[in-house]
């Protein structure tokens, strides 16, 4: 098994060309922190981008940063922090869920997995912040798309096209992202004791208000004790994050307590506790306890999330919590993933998708990890794959149609 460790974009191009000419598929990895997601890729050769590193451009006042694809996210976030900026979509860290260390992962992986976090609701995902890429297609051709400016409709947005492609279309070598000022401060408003349905209602009220909530999660009784070192007392917690300038945060927290005061007893978390809580919500913390039990991330219409859980629990045991106003359900199964039942129920409740983000290899090999697509969509996806990587050189089999 050969591991290619290119230092430059030219070397990536050379490697892919070689692989094309030899018809030798490559597994494309950064730090390999998300290797446990998707169908297992089995190739003789690996294209490891962890040496293709370095921030090549950072202009805080222009809100733009470019880096080579293998640059650690941790390095980028540290640099941004020095200038009170951040990646506003709050990319999650899958490391702990797989029993790995936190803080791993590269910029390329961030785009390939289209990462997001609790702020997805307000700020979008990686796809919404990528401005441009340089990449090498599975044809062994280098191309670029986009640029370094936010307003750009010149040609197709291939940078977005690479978001969520899990390395199956092209190998990104350089990526330009929009960056934004970090909030001056944050506070979390917590309501205790709501059941899932009442919590969903409270979150909808908060999100539909002018309080500009940037995180809305519900942590039911069964998991709440695992957050912030057991710092919550009693019952489920419905948590709403408010970020911004000090006077504005105080004002909006007050607005929330006026709007939701009669929904249950409320308290607030200070900045430090709030930061920690949302990092844990972001990273699936309650399920990152070393157990290999299957974990789903399910995305549905926010108001339907709790209905799905309710219906599903009649069929199988699961431990859950909700993010994204109730629309993102983190679900740990007691035993089997029960993919078919779950997906049938999702379709029945108006659609969405379930991703089996953690499961033992044998289960992943036998279960569609990503939501199966209707025939015309699957055919279109397969045609797109064909246009970028006709010989299936890049991450063969990682997604179902690849």
């Amino acid at each position: 098994m050969t591991v290619f460790l290119p230092n430059t974009a030219e070397e990536v191009l050379e490697t892919v060309r070689w692989a094309v000419s030899e018809e030798a598929p490559l597994e494309v990895v950064g730090h390999g922190s998300k290797r446990g997601i998707g169908q297992p890729v089995q190739t003789a050769h690996t294209l490891d981008l962890s040496k293709l590193t370095g921030v090549t451009l950072y202009e805080p006042e222009e809100l733009v940063l470019s880096a080579r694809a293998g640059t650690p996210i941790a390095e980028i976030e540290a640099l941004l922090r020095e200038h009170n900026q951040e990646l506003a979509f709050e990319p999650m860290d899958y490391g702990p869920l797989f029993g790995g260390e936190p803080g791993r992962g590269t910029l390329g992986g961030l785009l390939a997995a289209n990462l997001a976090g609790p702020r997805r609701l307000k700020a979008g995902a990686a796809r919404d912040h990528v401005l441009g890429v340089h990449a090498v297609s599975g044809r062994g051709e280098g191309f670029k798309s986009g640029g370094r400016v936010v307003k750009n409709v010149t040609g197709y947005d291939l940078s977005k096209g690479l978001a969520g492609s899990w390395g199956t279309l092209a190998v990104a070598t350089d990526i330009t992202m929009k960056v934004l000022p970090a909030a001056e401060t944050e506070t979390t408003f917590c309501i205790a004791g709501l059941d899932d349905a009442a919590a969903t209602q409270a979150m909808a009220i908060a999100m539909g208000s002018s309080a500009e909530v940037s995180g809305a999660a519900h942590l039911p009784e069964g998991v709440v004790g695992r957050f912030i070192d057991g710092g919550f007392s009693g019952g489920g917690q419905t948590v709403l994050r408010v970020e911004g300038f000090g006077p504005s945060v105080a004002y909006r927290i007050d607005l929330l307590s006026r709007l939701l005061g009669n929904h249950g007893s409320a308290e607030t978390l200070d900045e430090a506790a709030s930061r920690r809580l949302w990092r844990e919500i972001r990273d699936g913390h309650p399920f990152a306890d070393g157990s290999p039990a299957p974990v789903w991330r399910v995305s549905v219409t926010p108001s339907r999330g709790h209905e799905l859980v309710d219906a599903f629990r009649r069929a199988a045991g699961a431990n859950v919590y909700y993010d994204w106003q109730g629309g993102l359900i983190w679900m740990r199964m007691e035993a089997d993933p029960e993919a078919e039942i779950l997906r049938k129920m999702i379709a029945h409740l108006g659609g969405g998708h379930a991703t089996l983000v953690r499961a033992p290899l044998a289960i992943r090999a036998a279960t569609p990890v990503f939501e199966p697509q209707p025939a015309p969509l699957a055919a279109l996806s397969a045609r797109l794959k064909e246009q970028f990587d006709p010989q299936k050189i890049l991450n063969p089999g990682r997604m179902d149609f690849t």
């Binding site: 098994m1 050969t2 591991v3 290619f4 460790l5 290119p6 070397e11 490697t15 060309r17 070689w18 006042e61 222009e62 997001a116 979008g124 995902a125 919404d128 297609s137 051709e141 191309f143 640029g147 370094r148 400016v149 936010v150 307003k151 750009n152 409709v153 010149t154 040609g155 197709y156 947005d157 291939l158 977005k160 096209g161 969520g164 934004l180 000022p181 970090a182 909808a204 999100m207 539909g208 002018s210 500009e212 300038f245 006077p247 504005s248 105080a250 004002y251 607005l255 995305s299 926010p302 108006g350 998708h353 209707p374 015309p376 279109l380 996806s381 045609r383 794959k385 970028f388 006709p390």
Partner: protein, 498 residues
């Protein structure tokens, strides 16, 4: 563009015109097929009126099933199709072709679902941008992207162009506010992408569709995010002796962590034209005027107004006024909003450009424009989405003077080249269409363009949907599919093992 070459008309299609019209009448009964020359006249151009072409026939379907049947019919017979929304494109994206069915989506004009709990509206593509806001404003909501054409332009057209507006700095472009679509491919396949849930899996086809200018599929339904109206908004009107100082002020506002709801700049000629027209009270002794709008909770807006005023003073502002009422704020904006017609008053014709640049390059680009203005002997006025670097130079000319349109177009092309040269792009929000099609190689290599065309090949391998737009040359898909294998040594085999 005056010498614009469009794809050669398909003679077989032209010959079968009567038969095609009859078949279209079967698919779309009633008033949905327009073939009389005088009635088709209304569709012969879009917002880029320098170009006109009568279509083969105009078809106005009402249902997704009809769109699917029309496209499948045309696909099977090799007939070209040009989609059209409201026809406000400024780049000729909806320009008809002599041998193409013009598929007009304006009868798809219903809002299908308003869902406040999930902050989403499902609309047919012919609903206007402002129509969505009107449908939800009584509950305090609005749809954020606000192109100046919002009373007329369709949400389907917005998706096709990835349209922006003054509020996009803070709230994002169309791409960031669309949750899902239904679309029909050229072969008739109906496909749904996304919905009220977030981040559908698989390839980001929604991202590719947004801004694809009607070349990939026909949008038949759109689900958008709606937002609660900010509690309050206030604007600052700030004058500077030069655009350098105004530009520095913008950089420092953002450097201070403030993202205003809108941040617009006008140069001297634009200020004077606007003031003459609407009497907004703009200072006339300044060379750059900034309008900075802050929105959000009252406490935040008041806090930030003070901070922005301080930053402006530190950067040499000679005048600064903060609005104290919504009426006053509207007056501040009136001049900016009327900038195009205001320029229209001082010149028989004007040509609106749309490049984006890294903001810090503004002084260089403005200086370059002044030089070009002298070279071509044509005046130029600038309005500028200052927060995100999107420039709208308005070139003043007189179409009745022989050669002046061509001169204006050459001037425009030179401005866009300059934008690309300083790290910017050809178009920020108006699209490539036919207008900037032939400039694409200024920004992209052949390999870059070929990979984009390959995306087109996945959606529409016969190049039947809106051909002649965006790409200077549409290579045949079979040709692009060929692999060029570079045989070689195994590169730098660092034989590390896991």
């Amino acid at each position: 563009m005056s010498g614009l070459k469009m794809p050669q008309a398909n003679a077989a299609t032209l010959k079968k015109r009567a038969e095609i019209i009859a078949d279209m009448r079967i698919i779309v009964p009633g008033e949905g097929v327009v073939d009389a020359q005088n009635e088709m006249r209304a569709f012969e151009s879009d917002g880029l009126t320098a170009y006109r072409q009568m279509p083969l026939v105009v078809v106005l379907p009402e249902t997704t099933a009809q769109v699917s049947r029309i496209l499948k019919y045309c696909h099977e017979r090799d007939i070209r199709v040009v989609p059209r929304g409201s026809g406000t494109s400024l780049s000729g994206g909806a320009l008809p072709l002599e041998d193409a069915v013009l598929l007009v989506m304006s009868r798809f004009n219903r809002i299908l679902d308003i869902d406040y709990a999930n902050r989403a509206v499902v609309a047919q593509p012919g609903v206007t941008n402002l129509g969505i806001t009107h449908a939800v404003e009584q509950a305090g909501f609005y749809y954020a992207p606000d192109p100046s054409s919002q009373i007329a332009c369709s949400i389907g057209g917005n998706v096709a162009e990835n349209s922006g507006g003054v509020h996009c700095l803070k709230y994002g472009l169309t791409a960031n506010n669309v949750l899902g679509i239904e679309m029909v491919l050229m072969n008739g396949d109906v496909i749904r992408l996304g919905g009220k849930h977030l981040d559908a899996e698989g390839y980001d086809l929604l991202g590719l569709m947004t801004g694809s200018e009607g070349l990939l599929g026909v949008v038949t339904e759109v689900t958008v995010r709606i937002l609660q109206k900010p509690e309050t908004a206030r604007a600052l009107l700030i004058g500077f002796p030069s655009s350098e100082e105004a530009g520095q002020c913008v950089a420092e506002i953002i450097g201070a962590g403030i993202i205003p709801g809108g941040m617009e700049m006008m140069d001297g000629p634009a200020i004077r034209a606007a003031e003459d027209f609407v009497h907004a009270g703009y200072p006339l002794d300044v060379e750059a005027l900034l309008i900075v709008e802050l929105d959000g909770p009252q406490a935040e807006v008041d806090h930030l107004i003070d901070r922005v005023e301080t930053i402006a003073r530190q950067n040499g502002a000679t005048t600064s006024r903060a609005s104290t009422s919504d009426e006053e704020r509207a007056v501040f904006w009136a001049g900016r909003k009327a900038a195009f017609p205001a320029v229209g008053r001082i010149s028989p014709d004007y040509y609106c450009m749309d490049g984006t640049i890294p903001r810090k390059q503004l002084p260089r680009v403005l200086a370059g424009m002044r030089a070009l203005s002298e070279k071509y002997g044509l005046r130029v006025a600038n309005v500028f989405h200052a927060g995100d670097g999107n420039l709208h130079p308005l070139i003043l000319y007189d179409a009745n003077r022989p050669g002046e349109l061509e001169k204006a177009e050459d001037f425009g092309a030179d401005i866009l080249r300059l934008c690309v040269e300083v790290g910017g792009v050809l178009t920020g929000e108006h699209g490539v269409g036919v207008e900037k099609r032939d400039l694409m190689p200024e920004m992209f290599t052949e390999d870059d363009l070929n990979q984009q065309i390959r995306v087109k090949c996945a959606f529409d391998p016969g190049h039947l949907l809106n051909p002649g737009k965006v790409f200077p040359q549409l290579h045949r898909c079979a040709e692009l599919g060929r692999m060029h294998i570079h045989r070689g040594q195994m590169p730098f085999p660092e034989l590390e093992r896991f």
